[in-house]
Symmetry: D2
Subunit: 341 residues, 4 copies
């Protein structure tokens, strides 16, 4: 921790700070420059991270030396992690050379719907099926999901296609029922800092996809992931799905810059969701290609066979044939950057 | 709902749209301008709000005519609401001429701490005591609150001072225990779109303070409040506590613009939290004054008697004597704008 | 300057950095912590501010110790500055106990219009008249201002009322003509980083109001002001006029947090423009009151006697009687916070 | 134009609005719904675009039907435009199947520097040379560029390599001297709404690259381009170079979403500048690949042979060998998406 003092800081201010640091069991190193005095804290930074040094008299700013996250940091592993989802006769593995593609509808609506879409995305080459049973909706007057019934239909779709399924968990009290049916848990953007939920999924045996909140910095996202790993669950993948900016033409601003940054900062695999990221159906495929070029380990896009009748987000679902075409285009880009699909 | 078509929209596109609208049980009115065709939908807009019209061929944009929220809208009541918190021999009432002041520490840390601070803020004129027992912390390595023990201490502080208490509920599973001790529930910024939690507090008998999420628009905030009212709990106050912007000098950007906008859009009272809003101790008082001038119905500020030893947010806590001075200054501004404290 | 190294930084990396620092004529101090090495640079920071240290092998981050601005910094003066605009028999002075109020239309439209409005705002108690002759408009198809003719009309309005006038300069080539008529120059938000223009107004004998750009941090604003002072013109006032955020209900987000921050960081007076800041006529007065409570040295609001016929920004102009009422309300708040109007 | 009224709007309000519309020479169509009244304006929307309808009594919101830009709109041409820069024995053409690559240093620093870098980027396959002579710098204390001397050196580098040159124009008074040396003009992000400058480059014979401002929406960018086309210069390319968001890990947030959106909205070619966009040297190449995959017509990246000695932005310059490698990688991605380099 490095403390930069104001030009007006007094010797009394400096003494007060160094005494407190000593009281907390650390050492300080005072550098008196011509214009500013700087105090370095020597010793385990964790012990002072939460101390209100910034409000001490004479202090202008406080800069940490260490990252606030540990288990998720790239250095903790020193190599990228792989996260596996077991399937009959094998596994789907995130973080290797092959790029994983997840597709399916926004919400599970009916047996006919989910099974048909599952078959179609399977045929096009998807590796995993998505579908919401518990839906986080901005308005209370919109479709809230089928709940456990939706989970059962997801499990049927898995039976019918062999695709493992991912679905969202919105609340700690729903976790045990979801664990009965799902192969992977999704924590949504709006719950990225629902810390009670993060701790619970951290105790689950299932892998977790953690979506970046709309106003979450990359640091915030990594700290939320740290909650999960800290409970013992290291099977976490991080999802970039668009941040909120001043631009209103697109639904969100898909932040592809986050891909290389996350690859540098953490060992966890990175998935990109261009569907919610840009939110404009016509432009989703091209953003998926860009995500592949930028180094994504997985792509998640929504597909619906009858988008005009969808109960949620129909305006951003690809048709199965559009998804199939996208698979081909993504494959070409993947190969151009040394990956495969 | 008003649908603006692209210049390239065909008659076939128009027919498709109007047929679908008829299928949904509404009527359409097609206006063919020189450059654009516009289709108005006549009938209950709710029925089409979730339809993916924006992705229909030929559509450029879709503009709703009605607001997506109802119960929270100003028009629903036609007059500002008052929200009461019962206290021995009376009540604390939000939304009247008197401005309510809530103060206390970020976290409940010990009996000695909470009772001492409660007495000091009571003496300075605060109407309500705040204190966190379940704490939403960005990092898993920081103080997570005392849990039920903290709630008991809060209740003791109420006994000692007569001040009603507000505390945060982070998860549905904690609600019943919190209801045993608290007088008002707080839903934090990070949980503003935790819809499972919103529904649960909507079924509580206790009044609720709903804090605006860091990237929540005013419309999002109102829709989240709508979840609570829709479950039957109309005792809701809305809290502006700073939004996330590009500016990094301040912790957040306290958005005082939200005050007059909320007063126009909703009948619910508005509280402002300058402590988290600007996050810089020295500047909190002046932002509190500005909030009073801008029409806030209540102000919430953190106070701590020993901020240098606080377990959380010590760098933004006022000292009791600073809080006392602020009360005087707020009172003067309140009177200047026709309110009282 | 403090350089924090990556955990993977090598001795070779450290040697390379310290050699370069020596080459630039400064000294380095290497602190090897258990987890990270930190290098402090001793000597005049200016010499290394532009060096690409952040991209040196092994470097994780670089933190400056000094502020990048000097002449505008509070410490440079150690006391708030006053900026004067001479008027017949006296002066208008920004930065003292009295709060200065500037009003007038968005654009000068005609002799009748500007003189009538000038008389009305004078009567209501305004101290200065605003009016645009060269207008920065987002679209080329909207009214671009009367140019020099508008300046002449402004000068006539000054004659008629005694109010000094402020008007915008958009381009270096217009400066000499504007200097013939204006009492104060305005550099608009869109030109806040038009550095050629900043240098030119820095050479003017007239005081300058510099408006904060829509996405300018407080640091950016201060650096732009530094350009003007660096050319010798110290008569600068800074204007907060709303920043761009994700919120779309309001035109911009008036950032009142900037007032106390600027008062701490710089000796220059601060003016607030709630008209552009919130952009919604009904809410402008209340934001003006909040700005006064937050410590603004001056308030600028647009007034028009016939807003429905205004050639620009009519939707955010107050009527003269509304402005008069606002003056009374601002006066009450000013007194409540120890100022006057 | 569609006017949505408040529920509280009176018949008197409606009459007032329709009378004003008639006065302006247009017709209105009043639709009285059960909950809201909507007024459509029939006739040339331009005539009412600037009218302050939003502030008329009883009005809740105003929605335009037409786009505010014309000449830049995709529909104006109905097909993508090509923009040519003549070179000896040919031309560099933006907007065709081949992707154009522009490279060079941030600033021209010396004859040796610019000629060496020009030769190296030429050898690696770049099509155009960039280099700043007039530099917009946030701080007045940093290198401001060599001015005309820099332009002469750029022209020498063109002689030496055959590469056409692009350089920034910061002020109207510099335009004539820059036109003597440059092949293409650049208007920087900070001047995107310097309307005086836009008009002047609109009268130039040279093609123009217009960079998106840090807080400019896509609509703002298109309106700024409209200024240039409106003066007669149709040779304009638009540059995405990163927007300002809350994320601080990256220098800016390169908004690749803007590429498909611009391709839909305008016929003008789109160039992407990942150097300023992400601002972190290590991550620039991968963002360049993503931009190619997302459909960019051109890529501009900074290269410097001795970045540690660069006078500006050295921390984000690629080495010539890194640039050469990037060319190969971009070529592979370009081919995967049906383009070439």
């Amino acid at each position: 921790m490095i403390i930069i003092l104001r030009p007006s800081a007094t010797e009394e201010n400096i003494r007060h700070i160094t005494e407190k640091i000593a009281e907390w069991g650390l050492k300080s190193e005072v550098s008196r420059g011509e214009q500013r005095t700087v105090i370095g804290i020597i010793g385990p930074e964790d012990r002072v991270r939460e101390k209100p040094l910034a409000a001490f008299p004479g202090v202008e700013s406080v800069t940490p030396v260490l990252k606030p996250y540990k288990l998720v940091s790239y250095e903790f592993r020193g190599t990228p992690s792989k996260v596996s989802v077991p399937v009959k006769n094998g596994k789907v593995e995130f973080g290797g050379k092959p790029i994983i593609v997840i597709s399916g509808p926004c919400s599970v609506e009916s047996r006919e719907q989910i099974i048909q879409i599952a078959k179609q995305v399977k045929k096009a080459g998807a590796h995993m099926l998505r579908g919401g049973a518990f839906k986080p909706r901005t308005s209370p007057y919109t479709f809230q999901g089928l709940g456990e019934e939706g989970l059962k239909l997801l499990a049927e779709a898995r039976e019918a296609t062999g695709l493992p399924v991912i679905t969202e968990v919105m609340d700690t009290k729903d976790l045990s029922v979801i664990e009965k049916y799902a192969d992977m848990l999704q924590v949504g953007a709006r719950n990225m800092q629902n810390f009670a939920l993060l701790k619970e999924v951290g105790r689950s045996r299932l892998p977790v996809m953690l979506k970046r909140g709309m106003s979450a910095t990359i640091k915030d996202l990594l700290l939320s992931a740290e909650y999960i790993l800290n409970e013992g669950n290291f099977n976490v993948i991080l999802c970039e799905r668009g941040i909120r900016t001043f631009e209103t033409y697109t639904r969100n601003t898909l932040d592809l810059n986050a891909i290389p940054v996350l690859k540098r900062e953490t060992h966890l695999p990175v998935v990109v969701d261009p569907t919610h990221g840009i939110g404009l159906k016509d432009h989703i495929p091209v953003m998926a290609l860009a995500a592949v070029a930028a180094g994504a380990d997985a792509i998640m896009v929504e597909t619906h066979h009858l988008p005009e009748n969808a109960l949620s987000d129909g305006e951003q679902a690809l048709l199965p044939e559009e998804f199939e075409l996208l698979m081909k285009r993504m494959r070409a880009v993947a190969e151009a950057v040394g990956r495969s699909i």
